[in-house]
Amino acid sequence: MTRLPILKMVLAVIVFGTVQSVILLQFNWFGDEASTAAKPIDTLLDVTIIISSFIFAIVCVALGYALIKWRAKPGDESDGLPIHGNTRLEIIWTIIPVIIVLGLAGYSWAVLDDIEKTDSNALHINAYAQQFAWTFGYPEDGNKWSEGELHVPVDRQVIFDLQAQDVIHSFWVPEWRIKKDAVPGLETEVIVTPDKEGTYSLICAELCGLGHTTMRATVVVESEAKYKAWLNKQTTQVPEDILKTTNQYEADQLKKEEQSGGIEGSGVIEQ
């Protein structure tokens, strides 16, 4: 039995993996970064790309080597070596992947914690989703209302309270790297700190019916002063009926409680 050229194979994996990582890291896969969450997420992606490149390289090199080295000659009817396994090797390729994935999971957890930290002076904005449009309420500024266009100040944390009126929608601004479903009857929120002025698209990412493809809104990130100026120009307020459907269940529940003098059923609204 020939000895395996372990050293050569390791070298091949290193070369293959390095070249692949270097090429893949040239691209800005997730697109422009426009929130404080984008940096750590993109770094996490880069780390994952490097690790994945080496794993892919191991598989390719092993398969390629086996095919070059042990391809049967035509007409060769003999068998390979009766090797049934190797306990040490099997333990290695169980334990090392465990360590890698747990490492990546730990790192992901840290990033997750980081991007979901809330600020005490965060700005609250309501995002109402309905088939097939986004509208926004600004409760901290007289409950002003804007349709299809969202304005936020730069460099200040914003917490969007998502309210779905009919079916599930999903709030996604690719440059912010955040996404969260708006679920009827449930309060969900998006935490984000935009850190780059500009105009972006808010995309509905959850299939919501016929107009799903076109359910988008414009997002304008601008300086605090411009933001205030824009708000001042807005004249409409969040209409009553939007608030009503959103809070319909709560209202009904309250009425029932008043009538029966006690709480029937638990609140399904709160998460």
């Binding site: 994952t48 169980t94 529940q253």
Partner: protein
């Protein structure tokens, strides 16, 4: 004629179908009239006069077709013939269109039927790719488009990938374990006949007012609870497909547990058998959940219940928990049988025992156990309890470990082997290793919450599922069909055409699905009929590649059909494989074995002179072959 009508078969089946439909229809209309309502109700979530017949007609057909004759006779206390083999085996092509109880006939019925649905699902996909080739609207409007991707996925998942594996295993598994048939042949036949019924219901939804179901294969409430009539067709179709899968899984479990040939202990079972044991454990545990989820939607729609109606205190997100509690295991239901196929093929064509056989079997069981604990990774952005996310991320990423064990062990099997690549089956098996690795890697990336938050519901997910389902499952299905084609038909297929199919499929798969990762990461959402113009070029490339990929499948179909009829005779064991199905004639005799084989060693004893897996009946009483022990050579390290 009168006799033909009394005999089980197509005549009686057709009459049963009509009577069943009439019964359901009259029941609804009668009850409605009695209660003083209009005869018909045509709200889009209603239509009881259509829905109830949709349930009763298939049963009428099955009664007529003879699916229940034996059971009813038995239940009524009439004399039954336990050894009645009239519905067993096939001597002419018409026998494939009967309620046949032979596992080999059923296996063939499954494979042919599911390939037909593969074709339909493929055509639906190409329609979508034609629409997506350029930004803007090409050939279909948005509402049709939603119907296309929904039916495409449902046909591919419920009518192709899941059942084709059941079909292949139906054919080879009893042979592999030395059993004369499956444990419950009549249940087996019933399982098969539920499939075309499910297919007709799914595709029939195109005729419903409002068009086919269009809330995605995931059918999230409340989009699905308020959708037009087609959605109810989906709810009902899933029940038939699900019942078929569950019955088959029970059948496999009992067959594997009780019908192994003497000497076939657990550690001598081929890995294909292990794989189907694991798959069946997933099916019986998880499939009831999808049935339940669809029943709840059905009840919300038809009976005005409020499981998912938030205005009446329903809980919208619970649908997703129930759905994914099935549908994550389902992705492994669609992969584990393929793992089994790959182990058989690689070992046979590399002329070497599977590396780390026991760990390979344990990895399958590990995947089964973990599969039940990861469902919520499909819900990281769904607004579910935030505390559930990290635990689910950890279990999700841990699934990569047993999956990795499988990949590394296949590679280990190749080392020091004698690798033969003349067979298309082996080419697909080798390509599977690489392509599936890409899908596994993107899976791990999706399991990492911060990454998933960005790429969930984008084309990146579409790329992932197609790398694991096309590059994974479908490659293993092709490998399996090529590998067992000589066994099933007794003839060889054309390797030259096979190679054209292989290279076309490999290149087509990568060209179609790799760019989807890129546009998804860059911001293109999934399930859209149109997109920002900057993705136009990539989408054009994807569409062109998809059409090439589709066209190459015609080579496969041509090869299979022509070779089945005219291919050269294959002989019992063209691949010189060890497992039992190759030790009988091709195709095997009606009852598989004259005498049940005796298993004396592991299934992959290549390279050990004189080692045997099984001693076949015909070899005479005198043939005293000692029990073989696996040799103990190990890799030098």
């Amino acid at each position: 004629m009168a006799a033909a009508i009394r005999q089980p078969g197509w005549y009686r089946g057709a009459i049963g179908l009509v009577l069943g439909a009439a019964f359901g229809f009259c029941l609804v209309v009668g009850l409605r009239l009695l209660s003083g309502l209009d005869a018909f109700q045509t709200e889009q979530t209603g239509y009881p006069q259509v829905i109830v017949p949709l349930i009763t007609a298939p049963f009428g057909f099955l009664f007529g077709f003879g699916a229940f004759d034996y059971w009813f006779r038995w239940a009524a206390g009439k004399p039954t013939i336990p050894e009645d083999h009239s519905g067993h085996g096939a001597t002419k092509w018409q026998d494939y269109f009967k309620f046949n109880t032979d596992h080999k006939v059923i296996g063939t019925q499954y494979v042919v039927t599911t390939l037909f649905f593969f074709l339909i699902g493929g055509l639906l996909a190409l329609l979508m790719r034609a629409e997506l080739a350029q930004p803007g609207t090409q050939i279909v409007a948005a509402n049709t488009f939603n119907g296309l991707f929904s039916t495409h996925a449902v046909v591919m998942i419920f009518l192709f990938i899941i059942p084709v594996f059941a079909g292949l295993a139906n054919y080879v598994l009893p042979l592999m374990i030395g059993a004369p048939d499956m444990a419950f042949p009549r249940l087996n036949a019933l399982s098969f006949w539920l499939l075309p019924i499910a297919g007709i219901i799914f595709l029939g939804s195109f005729l419903a007012p409002g068009g086919s179901f269009d809330a995605g294969w995931t059918g999230y409430a409340p989009l699905s609870t308020g959708a037009p009539l087609g959605q109810t067709f989906f709810n009902i179709g899933v029940q038939f497909a699900g019942a078929s899968s569950i019955a088959t899984a029970l059948n496999f479990l009992v067959t594997i547990i009780t019908m192994r040939a003497p000497g076939m202990n657990l550690w001598r079972m081929p890995l294909l058998v292990w794989a189907n044991l694991s798959t069946s454990l997933l099916v019986v545990g998880a499939t009831p959940f999808v049935a339940g989820a669809q029943f709840m939607v059905f009840f919300d729609r038809i009976l005005g219940m409020n499981f998912f109606n938030f205005l009446e205190g329903g809980d919208v997100i619970s649908y997703q928990h129930i759905f994914w509690f099935y549908s994550h295991p389902a992705v492994y239901i669609m992969m584990l049988p393929g793992f089994g196929i790959i182990s058989e093929i690689i070992s046979t064509h590399a002329r070497k025992p599977v590396f780390g056989y026991r760990l390979m079997a344990l990895a399958l069981i590990g995947i089964v156990v973990l599969s039940y604990s990861v469902w919520a990774h499909h819900m990281f952005v769904a607004g579910m309890f935030s505390w559930l996310r990290v635990p689910i991320m950890i279990t999700t990423m841990l699934i990569a470990v047993p999956t990795g064990i499988k990949v590394f062990s296949w590679l280990g099997t190749l080392f020091y082997g004698k690798i033969h690549t003349y067979s298309t089956a082996m080419l697909f098996a080798l390509a599977f290793i690489i392509t599936f690795t890409v899908g596994g890697i993107s899976g791990v990336m999706l399991g990492m919450i911060p990454i998933d938050i960005h790429v969930s519901d984008t084309y990146f997910v579409v790329a992932h599922i197609h790398f694991v389902l096309f590059g994974g499952s479908v490659f293993t299905i092709f490998a399996g069909i090529y590998h067992w084609f000589p066994k099933m038909t007794g003839r060889m297929y054309d390797e030259r055409l096979g190679r054209i199919h292989f290279w076309g499929t490999l290149v087509g798969t990568w060209m179609t699905f790799i760019p989807m990762h890129w546009i998804g990461m860059d911001g293109m959402p999934r399930r859209v009929a149109d997109y920002a113009s900057q993705y136009g070029d990539w989408n054009l490339l994807i569409s062109v590649s998809a059409f090439v990929l589709g066209a190459v499948q015609l080579v496969f179909l041509y090869n299979m059909i022509v070779s089945w009829r005219f291919g050269p005779k294959a002989g019992p064991n063209p691949w010189r494989a060890n497992s039992i199905e190759w030790q009988v004639s091709s195709p095997p005799p009606v009852f598989n074995f004259d005498e049940i084989p005796r298993v004396v060693g592991g299934p992959y004893e290549y390279g050990t002179p004189g080692a045997r897996h099984a001693i076949m009946g015909g070899e005479g009483e005198g043939a005293e072959v000692p029990e073989t022990k696996p040799s103990t050579v190990t890799v030098p390290s």
